[in-house]
Symmetry: C2
Subunit: 128 residues, 2 copies
Amino acid sequence: MTEDLESRYRGYLAALNDRRFDDLAHFVRDRLSYNGEPLTRAEYRDMIAADVAAIPDLFFDARLVVAHGDRVACRIVFECTPEAEFLGFTPNGARLTFAEHVFYRFEDGRIAEVSSLIDRAAIAAQLR
Amino acid sequence: MTEDLESRYRGYLAALNDRRFDDLAHFVRDRLSYNGEPLTRAEYRDMIAADVAAIPDLFFDARLVVAHGDRVACRIVFECTPEAEFLGFTPNGARLTFAEHVFYRFEDGRIAEVSSLIDRAAIAAQLR
């Protein structure tokens, strides 16, 4: 089960990296909680699509994955060149490296809960 | 093994919360990597002791723990009232709530590697 969940999670990241957003229906529940806020899958998709629109080379690089039971934790490292405002930051054309540490709870094999921390301090420091 | 590692990790947090810093020898290797930097256990202990000196009511509240193989991931939520400068922030007497998302790799039952992300943006927003 644990191995299954990890490969399922990696499938989710592959869908994001391939921009197969329609496939999110396989990986994300109709309604989920994102950092404590209720979201529909459509809203979640729109949020990720907006990130990708601002950062065309956004690639979810899973550096550490820990999966157990219905939980997955991942350290994702982004190396990217944002082209438009993202997360409230205005890009300056520079290539950025920053991490996200994110926890997921799955229900019936699909993401039901996301708790994400993005290293905004690193982004701010690189844009300074 | 996975259950063992989780309970071992919870023992480590209990030692921190009880301020039993001498017990860190049981939980942390002589040399470790902290966010990519090499540290001795003494330096790691000093770092945590400095946080506790600045934030006497610092309590490591593990809200999510995911353990598998030699890895542990944890979402820790701090609700505390810093009394002196910490993480480069100057406290204003206010009670703060912020999260840390942290990954550990264990070797022979002791922490060998830490990759930590603290929600500095939340701290900055609450101190504004």
